[in-house]
């Protein structure tokens, strides 16, 4: 009987009322969220109150994630504008429509990443940030001085994205820690 696992015996496993993870009848606390399974009503209510507080804490991170998402939309706008200006300034050139399509595609990628940042902030912000930095580096390879053009705007954009990314990672950590969906 030493290896008997009670979780496999019907009727011995139950669900955590807080995070709905499977628990065992002998557990005093949920292993995933710490809910006092055998606690009094008061203890369980205090736990739920503290958990709600954690969810409120997540709202603070959400603001920074939203700002990063807005930054991605702004980048979409900037690149679309670049494409249009390039196209109308030099519409007779052979490369005008190619540049418009290239900038347009970059703008669409930023737009989609911005739209996705609410659901999957880490993936969308990392991708947007790497795309933006790569585009700056590509431009710097042919003209190194381009790195310093609009440097303040570039720093602002990157700082918003970094803050959003760090908030996204922190929010994921808290969600994992408290088993919050």
């Amino acid at each position: 009987m030493s290896d008997l696992d009670l979780s496999s015996v019907p009727g011995t496993a139950e669900e955590c009322k807080c995070c709905f993870e499977k628990t065992n009848l002998v557990d005093q606390f949920c292993q995933k969220c710490g809910f006092p399974l055998k606690g009094t009503n008061a203890e369980q209510q205090i736990f739920m109150y503290r958990r709600s507080f954690k969810k409120l804490e997540l709202n603070g991170y959400d603001k920074k994630i939203k700002s990063a998402g807005t930054t991605l939309y702004v980048l979409a706008g900037i690149f679309m504008l670049y494409g249009l200006v390039y196209f109308f300034a030099d519409s007779k050139s052979n490369t005008a429509s190619a540049m418009l399509i290239t900038y347009g595609l970059v703008a669409i990628i930023f737009l989609l990443l911005g739209a996705w940042s609410g659901k999957k902030p880490v993936a969308s912000i990392i991708s947007g940030m790497v795309l933006y930095i790569s585009l700056q580096l590509i431009s710097a390879v042919s003209d190194p001085t381009s790195l310093f053009k609009g440097i303040i705007l570039k720093i602002i954009i990157i700082s918003y994205l970094v803050k959003g990314l760090l908030s996204g990672l922190e929010a994921e950590k808290i969600k994992k820690q408290h088993n919050i969906e």
Partner: protein
């Protein structure tokens, strides 16, 4: 008698009451204490992984920028040097992450039917993408390019084209992106986000915005298959047949048969 939940491994002590608890437990199921030591170790490990992956991608980005946008990247020697550098870096990182990656090198559930199905699907997709890419490049950028011309002066030009364009990327890009990068990202975020980021970076490093249209879905599929099959080998097969078919289409268009 095993009394704790569904987790079978009981190999950590609660930081508060010292009871033996499951390795995966975030809270002690006896006293309810949050296992902070577990969490701190995880955070430190995650920060380390973020740093390591940033350097890994940074090297790739630097090499790709040099080989695509500077004079140093022109010619066969430059191509072999950049491919060689990236292959060595990938092998070095794979060795560093070997403990986590070795499971992906197994092919325990090999199926010849899947092998053929994946290879056939990759070849069909390559034909469609090849014609789409040629049409887009001709219509929008008024340009046409063939991989073969880079090696046409060599004695075994067709074989070298297959080795450099199909085999080398199939092995090393899969190891780098679906191996090192995706495995590292799996540790700091959820599996779907890890697939997306590694696919996005894969598409980005090809240094062509227009090719995002097919490279991103292709890489997303490779990442998904890698997770589903728990091996990188099907990805290597798909990648090889995808690139290999593109090479054969070129040989066909250039009347080299």
């Amino acid at each position: 008698m095993k009394l704790s939940g569904e987790n079978k491994s009981i190999d950590q002590h609660c930081v508060q009451c010292n009871q033996l608890i499951s390795q995966e437990a975030r809270y002690c199921n006896y006293c309810g204490t949050f296992q902070i030591a577990h969490s701190v170790a995880e955070t430190e490990e995650n920060n380390k992984i973020v740093g390591i992956l940033t350097i890994f991608f940074g090297i790739f980005l630097l090499v790709c920028l040099i080989s695509n946008f500077t004079g140093f990247g022109r010619g066969l020697i430059a191509l072999f040097v950049s491919d060689g550098v990236l292959s060595i870096v990938t092998i070095g990182y794979a060795a560093y992450f070997w403990k986590d990656l070795k499971k992906l090198f197994r092919w325990t559930h090999f199926s010849i039917i899947k092998f053929i199905a994946y290879a056939a699907a990759a070849s069909v997709a390559a034909v469609l993408v090849n014609y789409l890419a040629r049409w887009l490049n001709k219509t929008i950028f008024d340009s046409e390019s063939y991989y073969y011309y880079a090696f046409s002066h060599l004695k075994y030009a067709r074989l070298v084209t297959i080795l450099v364009v199909a085999l080398q990327p199939a092995i090393f890009e899969e190891l780098a992106f679906r191996g090192v990068l995706q495995e590292g990202l799996n540790k700091i975020t959820d599996k779907n986000q890890a697939i997306f980021v590694s696919a996005f970076l894969f598409a980005l490093l090809h240094m062509s915005i227009i090719s995002f249209l097919w490279l991103l879905p292709f890489a997303l599929l490779l990442g998904y298959i890698r997770n589903r099959e728990k091996t990188i080998w099907y990805g290597v097969v798909i990648h090889f047949f995808f690139n290999g078919t593109a090479c054969f289409l070129e040989f066909f268009e250039l009347n080299l048969f």
